[in-house]
């Protein structure tokens, strides 16, 4: 009983079928169908069935999928400027993120459009936090611990390397067992995914300091957009932007709730003091300064830092 829409956009995501992201995507699809009179619709492929982000990116290039939700990490080879948002310990709250993002958005969109993709929205993963089997309140607490080396986190890796801390490269699905067998002492993720993957059952401490911001983007192939009449294109853009904006609000709420649940289930919160936070920040700055300009474009970094300074001047932090 399904009528195939005239323009069917195959959309791949890594999020599981029952996640907030998929819920919102399904609602987004329903509204796109409604607003375009059934002419445009998404066909969803959730939960890794299309492979990891790099696989999906390749499929996007050959046209097996037309759109996909990526973390910013997967797009940094297309636009290295995206790395400027992932500098470790850069942001301390989402107010800062939103302000900086607003300033940077046109640049990012232009760079991705040049690669042939249009951005329909910026669905984020959120802040990553340290979770560990012994308390991590400052740099020295990381020493001698087995810290997870997540693939494709070159910025955090550069910083951890600079601290002289040993890291263990382990694939995502093996992390739970690695925590259990003490192959890993320190891991990091967004609270929501830590809860989904049940890491909270294997860690004792949660460090209440955002380690790094991981944004994301819903890209759509410009070729399939160009096939639609302009009015339909506009409708798709408008509907998607609204829903993906809503998704970010939901993601932040999910992450906040996840922190509460993780703490309620017996994980202890560790709050680094100002001196330790400064220690992390200084190390991050030092590590970033050592990176190649092609890898982390200084122009983008300065623009981000300038915007951040502006925001902080308008919003002096509470004592």
């Amino acid at each position: 009983a399904e009528n195939k829409p005239e323009f069917e956009i195959k959309l791949a995501t890594l999020a599981p079928e029952n996640s907030s992201l998929m819920q919102v995507c399904n609602e987004m699809n329903a509204e796109v169908l409604r607003e375009t009179g059934g002419k445009v619709g998404f066909k969803m492929f959730a939960g890794f069935v299309m492979g990891d982000e790099e696989d999906v990116l390749r499929k996007l290039r050959v046209g097996l999928v037309h759109a996909a939700v990526f973390t910013a990490t997967a797009l940094t080879d297309m636009d290295p400027a995206l790395r400027s948002l992932q500098i470790p310990f850069l942001f301390s709250n989402y107010g800062e993120v939103d302000y900086v993002m607003e300033k940077m958005e046109p640049d990012f969109k232009a760079a991705l459009l040049k690669e042939g993709y249009e951005v329909l929205g910026w669905p984020e993963l959120g802040f990553l936090y340290f979770m560990s089997t012994s308390p991590i309140a400052g740099l020295e607490d990381l020493k001698g611990k087995k810290v997870w080396a997540k693939a494709n986190m070159p910025m955090s890796q550069a910083m951890i390397d600079r601290a002289g801390v040993s890291t263990v490269a382990i694939g995502l699905p093996d992390v739970l067992v690695a925590l259990q067998t003490h192959l890993l002492d320190v891991v990091y993720n967004s609270p929501y995914y830590a809860l989904v993957t049940q890491w909270n059952t294997q860690v004792k401490y949660f460090t209440d300091l955002p380690l790094s911001y991981i944004g994301g983007a819903l890209l759509v192939d410009r070729k399939i957009m160009a096939k639609m009449p302009p009015s339909l294109q506009e409708t798709v853009r408008k509907v998607c932007a609204a829903h993906l904006q809503r998704l970010n609000e939901k993601t932040r709420k999910d992450n906040d709730e996840a922190i509460q649940i993780i703490l309620k289930r017996g994980v202890q919160k560790v709050t680094p003091d100002a001196a330790h936070v400064k220690g992390f920040n200084d190390l991050s700055d030092e590590a970033m300064a050592g990176l190649d300009a092609k890898f982390l474009p200084p122009a983008a970094v300065s623009k981000v830092r300038a915007a951040l300074a502006e925001y902080r001047a308008q919003h002096p932090s509470k004592p």
Partner: protein
């Protein structure tokens, strides 16, 4: 002509053997090094795992191409068992021809894949682009195609049993 081919294929067979030996021993040694570095020196090579996974890919593709020469692929050979001698020979030639065509297509599409990857310009680790590591696909499938072609020509010209029973060293 065929004699030259056979000599070339022998020469490549030796090279292939030593490349495989080098890769597998490197894989073992490098994995051990990672364990020692982590447990005794609190260090680790982050891109090590990516490198090792690609070495497995290299070994697999070279190994598969080798298995083609030695006729050691998994196959469900129910029909040839039911056929008489001449039918078996013809069927062997048909299956080899089909295998040749598919491996040629695999080779061509691998080439397209690698060119696309080169264009995308992504890096596997430090300054090693993905396409260097992926170049084993067109190479492996090219060797495989040549071996099927070699076998077809050899079997046709020698007039011996085709395909399954016609084995090259």
């Amino acid at each position: 002509m065929l004699g030259k081919w056979t000599a070339l294929s022998r020469w490549y067979g030796t090279l292939e053997k030593w490349v495989l030996v080098g890769l597998v021993l490197f894989l073992t040694g490098f994995s051990l090094l990672q364990i020692v570095l982590r447990n005794f020196f609190s260090m680790g090579i982050v891109w090590g795992d990516t490198l090792l996974r690609h070495i497995v890919l290299w070994v697999s593709l070279l190994g598969t191409a080798r298995a083609t020469a030695e006729n050691k692929h998994i196959a469900i050979d129910i029909l040839p068992r039911l056929l008489p001698g001449a039918g078996k020979t013809v069927l062997g030639l048909v299956t080899d021809l089909f295998s040749f065509l598919v491996s040629l297509l695999l080779c061509y599409e691998s080439w397209v894949f690698v060119i696309n990857e080169k264009g995308a310009g992504n890096f596997a680790f430090s300054s090693v682009p993905y396409w260097w590591l992926e170049a084993i696909f067109p190479f492996g499938f090219a060797v495989m195609s040549l071996r099927y072609a070699h076998r077809l020509i050899f079997c046709l010209s020698s007039g011996r049993n085709g395909g399954q029973t016609c084995k090259l060293s």
